[in-house]
Amino acid sequence: MTAHTTHAGHAEGHDHHGSRHVNPRPVLPATPQALTTDLVDRITHPKLGGLFVVSGLLFLVGIVGVFMKVSGGYADRSTWGFYAAVFAWVLSTGCSAPILSVATRLTKGYWRKPLVRIAELFGATTILLVLLYLPLIPVIPPPTSHMSFWVNGSWVGEPQVVLLFSVLGLALCGIGYIFTSVRADAAAVGDQTGGRKGLAAMLASQWGGTPHQWKVMRQGLSYLASFYLMFVIFVHFLVSVELAITLVPGWRDPIFPAFHAVSGVQAGLASLILMLYAMRRWGGYKDYLVLDQFWNPAKLLMSFTMLWFYMWWSAFIIFWYGRTPAEQGVLLVTGFGPYLYVFVTGFILNFALPLLMLIWNPIRVSIPGPVVAAVIIVIGNFFDRWRIYGGSFGTHLVDGQIQHAVPVDQLPIFRMPDVPDLMVLAGALGGMIFLFMLAARMVPVMSLWELTEGQLLTRTKMLGKNQVVIIGKPE
């Protein structure tokens, strides 16, 4: 701890001058042993207890909201549009956040080490996704009543069962990813603490740190990272197709699942940045989460913000030029009709405002800048989901009759959310934070073994008049 305090003092000394003067790289305890002691100490004395309690209460409010929704019945599908938007928002902001861990692990980004675990812990939010999906099952229409990928509705329970298994698979993969990543750390925690030895021993599952175990763990992480990525994309595909596209007659839009996934990853990145900030500001990780951990995700956030527009525009221009009745109907349902204001708000918050902010160096190369942009994007993503699912669920389908376009005189009406809807939204937000915090109380928020490894592989030296960092690349 002594070594750590010395370094920490140095890092914090700069902070009050503004973010640009924050150390660009983490100032860690001097030795791997000190680093381990410091992080184990943090897990035994967790902070953010207030946030944990408040988010838990919100989660409870959400559960009550879900029961109120279910008791309201399924007769009118349009009343479930807002709920579906919340479901898709959780898929985006919560379940897509581990993608940064996955991507940087596969590309071996050196700045990832202090933030990968936080990204991975978002995998716990997949549990919330499963819980939110269950009440939606009865509201998904059978494939016989509309255009569908399912051939003649000959399977049992499609698409509901397929969606359920996909969401369950994603949850399994997300939790497996966390479990595999924390084994080594759990063993370290178990070695150093008495009270948590039971849980730590369970998570460590006989981890001895042998070369074979390390090799298996690294390979396992690579495979799980790839699987998680594929699962997230697949679930985005299914959700966007089954809960949006197929509910709007004539909506033939192959880019939409990709748009859904890209905007999901954008929102996931944004929520990760927010959690990084919470951990830095209130969680006691000021020395670990520094400029590098905000600036690099901010670059990605800007790229995904531009991709958001690119994907949206690619679809829009085709519909605009095609102008078939089906395409005009789709444009009206998904943004230019009753949900115009929701769409415009989403457009500004997802694209225009974040891009204008992040394109500006002083904002991007700072800590508050990306955080503000992230807040805007997380809100914007909800509006984007609302205009999509609100419009889709509000579209009238005639049972047994496959339509090929939404008649312009039968557009869905705009539905304001009712009290249960708002309770579900609050509960979803609380639930994501609660599940994250719960996971964070069981395992270290920083990946001990990766930070230690990074420490071993990093040196500094003078090159000319500048101090540079030397990063070892063993593979």
Partner: protein, 455 residues
């Protein structure tokens, strides 16, 4: 990057500048062959312009054939440079250094080649200027809502940007060449190097320019192939009118472009004996990059396919049925999937294959055969669709003229690269030197681990 040979600045100069300062024994024969191949194309164009477009296999309703396929293919290849150079520069990927210049030059050569094809396709080549807003007196303006007008704007913007990119990265090397040549060459390099002295301020400005151009060219890079895709997608031709075309074309372009770079790197390594510079590590890194790119391409490919069937519209399903089940399109479909994804990605999963130069060479060619066929498969069946009115039925059979044009386009690109290699180094000398400076080793326990310097 495990394989690293420490080279002195003198060695780097000697090895990388020799193709410019001396002439390799194979250079003139290679130029002759490329010129002859190009000559076939010139002959074909001459015949076509003299006798008319009836000499091609184009007919009604198949107005777009091999020339447009080839145009799309070469625009695709041109995406190599920006992908390798700009994106990897922004990501600070160290392994990019020996690959960047050749990739950028490939971009310029292939884009210039691509730009020729719509002109040749017009038949009356001399009227190309009709796409520009020139005719004020007659108030006949080109229709700015047409993607056929967006195309030249996008391509010429990209060509200008890519040329600037090459030139910007060439400046330090031009300075080196100026100091090592005499006569007219020295005058030329002195003029072209814009007074380069290699002082810290010049390097700083060049660095800033590199970053700025890298950032600015990215949207252009994406927009070029998107606009090419909208040539097709904004029309109501069945199976063309798909929202996914823009990213699908872009990712396909990156797939073929990066594979094209692999092919070229193998040739350069063998021809100029650059084994110390282009190592199996580079092929390994490119192979890993290609796994991700190919998988993204397959994702968009499958989306396009699924949604064409999903709508259940007779015309869409008809085209897809033709593409998948009818000869020869079904066979092409099989080749596209097998050569473009299944074989390459299965092979690239193995490190030993990624590091085997000959395997990488063979697979990269395989990918580009698949990508060329994919463009053909996307374009022709949509027009060849047998609709209700039987008088409108036709099939496309390419004529010898078109085959010669496709063949000659490879000659043109090769000739461009060969000419460039005679005047400028195809591996950036200054970047190699900088790379040497950034290479380090650190000792952990008993092991020496390769390391890189980060500012």
């Amino acid at each position: 990057m495990q394989e690293r040979k420490v080279l002195t600045e003198l060695q780097i100069n000697d090895r990388l500048l020799w193709p410019v300062l001396e002439t390799a024994s194979w250079w003139w024969p290679a130029v002759t062959v490329a010129a002859l191949v190009l000559g076939c194309g010139v002959t074909a164009v001459t015949i076509m312009v003299t006798l008319g477009e009836g000499t091609t296999g184009l007919n009604r309703p198949i107005f777009w054939g091999f020339m447009i396929v080839n145009f799309v293919f070469w625009v695709g290849i041109s995406h190599a440079g920006v992908m390798i150079s700009s994106i990897l520069r922004l990501c600070q990927a160290e392994w990019r250094r020996p690959v960047t210049r050749a990739a950028e030059v490939l971009t310029v050569c292939s884009l210039a080649t691509a730009a020729l094809f719509p002109l040749i396709h017009m038949g009356r080549v001399w009227r190309f200027y009709w796409v520009f807003p020139y005719d004020f007196d007659r108030m006949l303006w080109p229709d700015v809502r047409s993607p056929l007008i967006w195309d030249p704007s996008a391509i010429f913007t990209y060509l200008t940007g890519a040329t600037m990119f090459v030139f910007m990265a060439l400046l330090p090397d031009l300075g080196i060449l100026r100091d090592r040549t005499t006569g007219w060459r020295r005058t030329f390099y002195a003029f072209a190097s814009l007074g380069w002295r290699g002082n810290p301020r010049q390097f700083k400005l060049q660095f800033i320019l590199g970053i700025l151009l890298s950032g600015l060219i990215l949207p252009v890079f994406v927009s070029v192939h998107s606009i090419v895709s909208w040539d097709f997608a904004v029309s109501l031709v069945p199976a063309w009118h798909a929202t996914v075309f823009a990213p699908y074309f872009v990712i396909g372009a990156v797939h073929s472009g990066v594979s094209g770079v692999v092919t070229m790197m193998v040739v350069l390594r063998a021809a100029f004996k650059w084994q110390d510079y282009i190592t199996p590590d580079h092929f390994d890194a490119l192979g890993r990059l290609l796994v991700a790119v190919a998988t993204a391409w397959l994702y968009f490919f499958m989306l396009d396919l699924l949604f064409a069937i999903y709508g259940g519209e007779t015309r869409e399903v008809g085209v897809m049925e033709q593409r998948i089940f009818q000869w020869p399109w079904g066979f092409f479909f099989f080749l596209i999937i097998v050569l473009g994804y299944i074989i390459p990605v299965s092979a690239w999963m193995f490190r030993s294959v990624r590091r085997n130069i000959m395997w990488m060479f063979a697979i990269s060619i395989m990918v580009n055969v698949s990508m060329w066929l994919e463009r053909l498969w996307l374009i022709i069946p949509g027009l060849q669709n047998k609709e209700r009115l039987t008088f409108d039925w036709a099939v496309f059979q390419p004529s010898l003229i078109e085959i010669m044009l496709v063949f000659s386009s490879f000659g043109l690109v090769c000739l461009g690269l060969l000419m460039f290699s005679k005047f400028f180094p195809l591996i950036p000398v200054w970047e190699e030197k900088e790379g040497q400076l950034f290479r380090e080793e650190i000792k952990i326990g008993n092991r020496i681990v390769p390391a890189i310097v980060r500012e």
